[in-house]
Symmetry: D5
Subunit: 155 residues, 10 copies
């Protein structure tokens, strides 16, 4: 049912890849959407995200969820993983990381619609969540809640 040839030109899938030292070095790759006339949603859940605080250099952690409706392209999932890993030694603020990840994907994919939720671990007892989408969602497409639990403190 699928078009495997769309995977023919990929550079990272199935080969070992060095982790890029920062997001600008990371090579996000796309593949052709096998259902270009079908408005469906793809969700990636990434609970293993870490970056550095640009002020203190200390590690930050986040749980990140990306939803998008493809137009002509899908993001290739291994290159997405490498891209997310490239933040590991890179310093940036929560809002900038979260929105920046989304904008890189938008630049690459030109999707019909995309949103990102960044659920950051608490600093100073107060976690920050960042939510962004490219605009009002297209009508008639199913977009379930992300439903990531809020932070509760203790007890």
């Amino acid at each position: 049912m699928s078009d495997q040839t769309i995977y023919a030109n990929l550079q990272q899938l199935g080969s070992s890849t060095e982790t890029p030292t920062n997001p600008d070095e990371a090579k996000l790759e796309a593949v052709k959407n096998p259902h270009p006339g079908t408005d469906y949603l793809v969700r990636f859940t990434c609970p293993e995200f870490t970056s550095l605080c640009p002020v203190t250099g200390q590690p930050d952690f986040a749980h990140i969820v990306i939803d998008y409706i493809p137009e002509d392209l899908l993001v290739e999932s291994k290159s997405l993983k490498v891209f997310l890993t490239s933040f590991r030694n890179h310093g940036d603020f929560h809002e900038a990381c979260t929105v920046g990840i989304a904008k890189r994907l938008v630049d690459l994919l030109k999707p019909k619609w995309l949103r990102i939720g960044g659920y950051w671990y608490p600093r100073g007892g107060i976690p920050i969540d960042v939510f962004w989408q490219t605009g009002e969602a297209p009508k008639g497409v199913w977009i379930p809640d992300q439903d990531v639990p809020g932070y509760r403190g203790r007890g």
Copy 2:
């Protein structure tokens, strides 16, 4: 209250069936909708889905939920089970499997509306969910959330 004769021509219900070797071999069967003038939703929850990765041949697993509003036909539930089982030794990508299952049902049933949620087990630490529906839902029909929990990682 129901029309049991609609089950009279089925080939698989109540007899033992060999598992087809791939989805194209599987014979999805339909029965007449016993409430053709009533817009109701039927949900199948299938936590036992498995297919193969088309690249590595390794097994993939998914939790799949299908919602539809019947027009003239219902899918016969045993044939649905056999159809889902037919992916067991069949290789295809997550997006293709998920949307492909839905399209087979749409072709067979011509339902008023149908949607599918495919909630795949993580690969590389990042699970993919795929959501598709045939279009905007008809007004006045009750369509509850699927509310399948998101992936949390550990802790």
Copy 3:
């Protein structure tokens, strides 16, 4: 604050009742709505429902939730319980039971609006849920989600 005389003609409340042998024998009773000009929702949650499979004669089980907005009548709750109990030795399909219960209530009560959720225990590893409502809900009435958890399999 309530009109207790509306209960004066009931035949089942407070007396012992024999369980009818099938739904057609069951005598669903109504009482006058004590707030006829007030659009409120009544929810009954029935986790103790059982019927028989019309093909195999084996028991089926369901968790059933009924929501309705009364017009002139309320269903008397003991007669509702007896009615639901009358499916115990009665064979019918999931869709037919669920929608059939709702239609009996609609016939009796002529409510402003009614819906039913039937959450059936798994057969063949795949549970079926059936959702029906009488049409688009009246504006300005509060109708909370039923939020019955989905089936998860194991783990």
Copy 4:
């Protein structure tokens, strides 16, 4: 930031109060809304409600949640507690109690909007929930779900 003088005329706050023998005896009190031009929602969650069955005299229990958007007045919270306590030895049906509590508050407060959810403990294995609101909610006001869990039976 608040206008404490609005509490100057209260009769029950800070003094000991005898529990009224029924709701008609209970003196619900109001205070001036400190933010009369601001459309906000106040939620009271009352898991300690009990009344009597008007037929059998046996105790009934409910978990009650009240949401309202104040106009000129707020309900004084201690008088609300005393009012709810006044149902302790008072007999009435579930629908009548729930809607009756709401209407007493509406009479007193003339709020912009109010709703009540009454989540009653099961009788005969079937709990009843009652939901009422004064009409369509005003636009632009934030009204979160009450999200009180449904009854699950056992297991």
Copy 5:
């Protein structure tokens, strides 16, 4: 990806700060929005809030969640923490604290939209929640539910 120079004039970040004795003394600070043309939502979750009851002087506790869509400014997160801490020895009512926090942020930030949920610990067995937003949310911006669990009593 971010504009670190926007942090150049801050007075509290990275230096030790004395806790102000009341909210009026607290110096809330803003920084320039690094994505001024992008409508995203920022959520702060603050489970460590405490103030004093203006009548009895006893401590009150709340779980507070703030959502806003920035216009030109972001609140600087350390100054937000200090501001929230300044309620520690300050007496005010639940409604006044909750709405007051939001209005201070609105005054400072002139955001496109802001809302606050104050989830107060029970007093007299009945917790109060306060929900306020600045008005109808702008179209096309993603604003997830806060989904803070309701109070359940015991059991």
Copy 6:
């Protein structure tokens, strides 16, 4: 499999009973243990308990769980319900109510072993739980945890 004649002399089962005005008036009744040579555990879960504060006269609420291993007698469950209801207008402290209920049952039943957990709703923000058992449990009898969730406050 059971000895129904053990129920022949009961005074309350199946007849309507007036609620006693205090626990001393309540007539707890016993029936013969149908399995006198078998060491099994019986658990009653009572989430509908209420009494009065002996100091203020205000209602208290508790969730109560009773476990016991019968010797010659079982408590008759309707009389247990009436006994628990008799605390409704009776004033006593949490510790006294909880242990007192257990001791009444011990006096009546002379069980092999009994324990009670009283999980009281919070007062002053601090709930009290009371746990008592008649001594070390007999060996070889299965006594599962009560696992009533602790109080969490909010958030």
Copy 7:
């Protein structure tokens, strides 16, 4: 790895069986333990149990969990299901049903050890749980908690 011939003499597996009208009519069947020298635990979880109240004739429901350590025999699972189904039109008390099911299995299997937990749906607002085991568990065998959630009432 298993001895399929142990299934050769079974009468019910794979053929259609009429539901017996009471437990005495039900034919529980055993098969040889394929690991007779290995002390392992088998758990059956049966959330679909229903019987009748011997006093009122009304249906009762339970969630039942059976754990046992086989000696020479295993219970054949389809005959167990038919046995449990045979209580459907049979009247007996909670304690008698629960312990009776266990004793029938003990008589048939002569297991090294067996226990049963019967988690009954509430009647009169108070559910009963019944726990029985054949005696102290053999040393060195792993017997996990059943961890069936307690009844919480509402809220």
Copy 8:
């Protein structure tokens, strides 16, 4: 069933009390144990605890659970609340606060046994829990798990 005269000499119950400025100023009070020959456990759950960091002066928060088996004395619950409140403007480390609270209670009550669990909110992304008991628990007394959920981070 209880001895109310044991409350006759208390100084804080029912009167308004000023919050002491530190734990040494707080007057913990005891009352006679109404069941001196009965080994029962009392649990206090205190989700509203706050103190100051002795190094930075910033607020710390904890969820605290205290279990004890009384000998001759019970702690008077209002004085316990005042004592816990006295840490509000007092600086001390997590371990010292937690164990110190317990030791004050031990000094006052000379209980048969006591334990404390201090579940502190995260600092630097890592919460600390402190658990202390006075020694091995007496045999034959029921001491349920505290079962306070662990910290999960996000996701």
Copy 9:
């Protein structure tokens, strides 16, 4: 801190492997325990297990958790995965699969201790769990509960 050379002779790690057609074909591999004098527990959680029913040929699914205390050898994790995958087209009963997996590991590793929990998806409405360990656990080793949730049915 670790001895990477222990991985030098492995045949499957890092190379692509064909899935064996049955467990007997699967080549389980071991590596030297890097902490041979340290009694620690290793847990593998495998929610993606599937085999075939030996009677009907239909797929079965299980969630499997393996705990062991190594002696001289560790199981190499990729070969464990391949071994578990080898059941995919292999027919065997639940008890035989579960205990058989454990025994293969015991044969290979000669561990100090090992246990397996097999949590099978329901068939006929009744799931089976199988629990086995090699004997009483060694003293002084920490072996946490597996705490896999029980099957709840619906509701």
Copy 10:
């Protein structure tokens, strides 16, 4: 109640620290136990742990919980955080990381007892948990379960 002078010689607390490039470079520091004669347990919960796979160089993630009973020394919590952070660019296997962290703490602190639970994110669909303790726990010390939820897959 605490001895602040024990913190006088620390090198990292309150000053900014560079992250060491590997665990051997990290300087774990100890402080004197303020309660040397008191057997209490300290728990650190660290959901933000990450290291590298020694074979592929790809990041691994874990949720780590450390429990210990101090003898003469406490670990200083900031140096613990820095130590855990030092694994960020360090490659080692799951078992080696987990047990290695514990052994470093044992070397430094010579505690009465210590244990570690390492809950690793899944790789190849199968997460590994590692549990180690220094030996049988001392009698009379309270050591609650860690109760970190198991991995569930999806659904």
